[in-house]
């Protein structure tokens, strides 16, 4: 039997359905791989019993001749931002350590309903704030990749760093991610996997610990475009419990996958040629154009003139929302409570939040509180919302000329853990290409393109019109077929 942990979502689903192997065998293989990969620190908690129970349910269904779901027999990692009934949910923060919800997020429930099983809760940047997975209270996540000639632990990207590390290391065939300003795409690019953030509203936010409500969007992370299409289909759908959920049917993305791009136009945004971008990244972008042209697409130049204002606007809007969203962690009802002797309510708040939140979270709460303050609100928040509208309008206009936009996912490849901690701004800049699509609520995906001179993966990003995940997936598939990205990290863990 082949090593089951090399299989992706589609192969596992089809193999289980055909009877090539059982779901239990798959779950056991991945449980073992997870147990063997503690050095990656990709999981905060592992739930092997959950994976086995889901697998057994699928095997029984198959034995009974019942129809199997879209994710039947596929064990996955669940980013620890999704509330899971009976399993600790922390957002990688001390303030929620030990918090065990008695409810299940809509997205995770849909995945279980589709036959997926849970390997465990994946590590992430605390409250999804970070681009390197170094802000987790539960320790850094290491990428399975190493820089050629170095033994330094590399960043898996963030915030969905546990997800990217686990999928790249093949200890999970797929994982959930969430993307607020690149948190699916950037880690996918760093680790040589695929990840798609769908149109804002496709996936319910109900039961997902909130970072910035108007930007947060869940999506799948896996090793192929097909796997992403399958898993996104299982995650998406209207949810009346989320007022911002899209009330529209979920297309069968997998069935409509088509890498023939004849008649399609691919836009190249000129403003994305930014200073500070690695030459290798620019080269891979050029290569991407060639691939898509080869797939039949016409390449057109487009302009997104407000691109350079997107990141500053993001770092006003997202912290503003976060400062309010995180006010509920106050030590009153659940999670950490630090109540010094003889202290009152204000002391309890201060002590609890000082002890419970990490530095990056505190930094963003402070930024957010500041930009919403009386006297500053218009100068910052209102202005940022105007910029956001302009960024969205840029895309609208660009999409009058093209069907999908091709850009780099990140300005650099992965970097060693600890190497970017001096100045938070340099870290923020890593999301410069990812943030505009987030502000505009557009579907955007990263697919692996190549390996740089250091032996590290580089990703390419595709951005589509609202609701047009299909064009993004199709262009991604065209790149995947031509990039023939087969590199995998050598096992060191």
């Amino acid at each position: 039997m082949t090593d089951l942990t090399n299989l992706g979502v589609k192969d596992i689903r089809d193999g289980v359905a055909k009877g090539d192997f059982t779901a239990r065998e798959v779950a056991s293989a991945f449980n073992a791989a997870v147990a063997d990969a503690a050095a990656l620190n990709a999981f905060i908690v592992t739930t092997p019993d959950y994976a086995l129970a889901a697998a057994d349910a699928v095997d029984s269904k198959r034995a009974a001749g019942e129809p199997l779901g879209a994710m039947a027999g596929v064990p996955i990692g669940m980013k620890d931002l999704f509330a899971t009934d009976g399993v600790q949910t922390t957002a990688a923060s001390h303030i929620l350590e030990g918090f065990t919800p008695r409810y299940e997020s809509t997205v995770s429930q849909k995945l279980w309903d589709a036959g997926a099983g849970m390997l465990g809760k994946l590590n992430l940047d605390q409250f999804a704030m970070g681009s390197s997975n170094e802000t987790s209270y539960f320790g850094n996540v290491a990428s399975p990749w190493k820089k050629a000639g170095s033994n330094a632990a590399m960043s898996p990207g963030g915030s969905s760093g546990g997800s990217s590390s686990a999928v790249a290391a093949r200890i999970a065939p797929a994982a959930t991610g969430t993307d607020t300003g690149g948190s699916i795409r950037q880690p996918a690019a760093f680790t040589g996997i695929c990840g798609i953030k769908p149109t804002y509203g496709r996936c319910s936010r109900w039961g997902v610990v909130a970072f910035a409500s108007s930007l947060d969007q869940a999506g799948p992370m896996a090793r192929s475009v097909e796997d992403c299409a399958i898993m996104l289909g299982a995650m998406a759908g209207f949810d009346p419990k989320d007022s911002t959920s899209l009330d529209m049917p979920v297309p069968d993305w997998e069935a409509a996958l088509n890498s023939d791009l004849r008649g399609k136009k691919v836009g190249i945004p000129r403003e994305y040629r930014m200073e500070g971008t690695d030459q290798a990244i620019l080269d891979s972008w050029e290569q991407g154009k060639v691939w898509l042209k080869d797939a039949g697409a016409e390449i057109v130049d487009v302009s997104l003139p407000h691109t350079k204002y997107a990141l500053p606007a993001y770092y006003i809007v997202a912290p503003a929302e976060a400062s309010s969203n995180l006010a509920r962690y106050d030590g009153v009802r659940y999670g950490l409570r630090d109540l010094p002797d003889g202290s009152g309510l204000q002391d309890m708040y201060a002590a609890t939040r000082a002890a419970g939140f990490g530095d990056e979270v505190k930094r963003r709460i402070l930024i957010g509180t500041y930009v919403l303050s009386a006297g500053f609100y218009d100068a910052y928040y209102t202005q940022a919302q105007k910029v956001r509208a302009l960024v969205a309008r840029d895309f609208e206009r660009a999409f009058e000329q093209c069907d999908v936009i091709l850009a780099p996912t990140t300005p650099t490849a992965s970097f060693p853990l600890g190497s970017m901690n001096e100045d938070p701004l340099t870290m923020y800049l890593n999301d410069v290409f990812a943030v505009p699509a987030s502000l505009a609520g557009l579907p955007a995906m990263s697919v692996p393109a190549t390996i740089n001179a250091d032996g590290l993966p580089l990703g390419l990003q595709l951005v589509g019109r609202p609701f047009d995940e299909q064009s993004v997936l199709n262009a991604g598939l065209a790149i995947q077929q031509r990039a023939d990205f087969t590199a995998k990290p050598d096992k060191w863990w």
């Binding site: 509330a83 409810y103 610990v209 419990k241 007022s243 309010s324 006010a327 204000q346």
Partner: protein, 498 residues
């Protein structure tokens, strides 16, 4: 104009009053969650995951709350904003699980409206007055802290957390405690007519923040203070009275009014400082990103409008103009939902039983409803079973009276028995002999006998001593055992005495 003025040591002062009334919207579930809103439940028994602000929980607007706010706006002839938005008001407190209250600062659902308070000489309101209403917005209530459960700790009850409130903000158009009282009463009546709030101030369904300032007649507005959470009409009036006097005292002794939030103490009828402007929170309002703007469709608005009942002003006008009631009766009958509901039911029933237009019997029914029936019920006290006071029974009594079968006194007596026993009024009239004689023959015989027996008095009467007429009536009634129809008696006596 109001004549209300405060006579200070240095001259007259006018009072300027604006009210922010918080009214709990009468719905079974909360503004953004499905949890129940029933009053008086065990602490924390009506708390959903959303109300407790568990991680990842999201608000979903309750359509019925929105509908009631819109209907209320329509009832005060306000502009309804088809596009409105929810904002977060951020502050930390133990009774506020989310760390913010979802409210509407920038784009409220209801804009400019107005409300009429009526002239009331007794209360010191000289003429009808329109009070402007600036806006109504919808927001969440907070939970409640309980400080008496533990020697060193406070407990939190989240049953009220997330309950829907309307904040109804008036213009500073009121100039006396009486006007403010009338405003609150009128607003309460409208809310109750519409059914958007039960108006129960004791249970906290309605409470007011009172903004007061004073100024010299005709001068610019003075600095105002806001007294929070005043929960009865009487307290609103007391708070204004006290606060206005306090401000006058401060100003006249050379001090300045500090813009601040104050608390009302119902025990002493006074107000005291809660926090000054310097300590005021910066609420960091911003649009709630969990919620889309609220857009109201034409159909929805049309349904809201169509479902509005006849409102107090329209009803009052109809009572005087169509039913011919006195302004006093019309006002009394329309003040409360229960009152007009009972009146209209009885009026319809009585008109049906008597086969007359409502207008023909309205005055009789109004007098019965406002004075006769309540008088009897009150006199009986615990002996009365209010359930026996059905519209059918009362209409039957009123019909007998209308036909002259019973007198007013007999009507009361019959009603008394009805209240005590629930027996049928017609049966009571028969069985208890509570009927008056309208048989002209019997009365005529009695009249003839009395005229014959009192020839001297007849002589005096005919000679111009008209006061003797009462004597003949009394004698006749006595002879008839008190059961003669007074109308018939009068008529016969007049004819026979010439």
């Amino acid at each position: 104009m109001s004549n209300y003025c405060i006579q200070g040591a240095t001259g007259e002062w006018e009072v300027v009053i604006g009210l922010e009334v918080h009214a709990q919207i009468s719905t079974r579930s909360k503004l953004f969650s499905g949890a129940s809103t029933e009053f008086g439940a065990e602490p924390n028994s009506q708390v959903s995951l959303v109300d407790a602000a568990m991680p990842g929980m999201l608000p979903v607007p309750n359509r019925e709350c929105i509908r009631q706010a819109v209907r209320t706006g329509m009832a005060i002839e306000a502009q309804i904003n088809a596009w409105s938005r929810f904002d977060r008001k951020n502050y930390f407190y133990a009774d506020l699980p989310q760390g913010y209250q979802i409210s509407q600062l920038y784009h409220p659902i209801v804009g400019e409206g107005q409300l009429l308070i009526e002239a009331d000489e007794k209360a010191g309101i000289a003429a009808d007055k329109i009070i402007g209403i600036e806006r109504i917005h919808v927001e969440q209530d907070a939970g409640k802290l309980m400080h008496d459960q533990h020697p060193t700790m406070s407990y939190v009850d989240l049953n009220r957390s997330g309950v829907a409130l309307m904040e109804i903000v008036s213009r500073p158009d009121m100039a006396s405690p009486a006007e403010a009282g009338a405003y609150v009463r009128k607003l309460r009546a409208i809310l109750r007519y519409v059914g958007s709030c039960d108006g129960n101030m004791e249970e906290g369904s309605m409470r007011a923040d009172v903004n007061v300032s004073v100024r010299r007649p005709g001068e610019e507005l003075g600095t105002r203070t806001e007294t929070k959470n005043v929960n009865s009409v009487r307290f609103v009036m007391q708070a204004i009275e006290h606060e206005a006097m306090r401000q006058v005292d401060v100003l006249e002794s050379g001090g300045k009014i500090v813009q601040e939030t104050r608390l009302f103490d119902p025990g002493t009828g006074t107000t005291r400082t809660m926090r000054s402007k310097e300590d005021a929170h910066d609420y960091r309002y911003f649009p709630d990103p969990d919620l889309l703007p609220l857009m109201l469709e034409e159909d929805f608005l049309a349904e809201c409008r169509a479902s509005l009942p006849e409102l107090p002003d329209a009803k009052r006008t109809r009572y005087t103009d169509v039913l011919g009631l006195t302004p006093y009766n019309a006002r009394e009958l329309t003040a409360e939902v229960e009152t007009f509901a009972r009146f209209e039911t009885l009026l319809a029933e009585t008109a049906k039983v008597i086969s007359k237009d409502q207008a023909k019997v309205a005055t009789q029914v109004a007098n019965w409803s406002l004075s006769v029936a309540p008088g009897v019920i009150k006199a009986l006290g615990d002996e009365a079973d209010p359930a026996n006071a059905t519209a059918a029974a009362q209409a039957s009594i009123l019909a007998m009276q209308d036909k002259g079968e019973i007198s007013g006194g007999q009507a009361k007596e019959i009603f008394e028995i009805v209240l005590k026993t629930g027996r049928d009024p017609a049966e009571i009239a028969d069985a208890e002999g509570l009927k008056q004689v309208s048989d002209t023959g019997a009365i005529e015989a009695a009249v003839d006998a009395i005229i014959a027996a009192n020839a001297d008095k007849v002589e005096q009467y005919r000679g111009g001593k008209e006061a003797l007429f009462g004597f003949f009536v009394g004698q006749t009634m006595k002879a008839m055992g008190g059961k003669a129809n007074p109308g018939v008696v009068n008529q016969l006596l007049k004819a026979k005495l010439g």
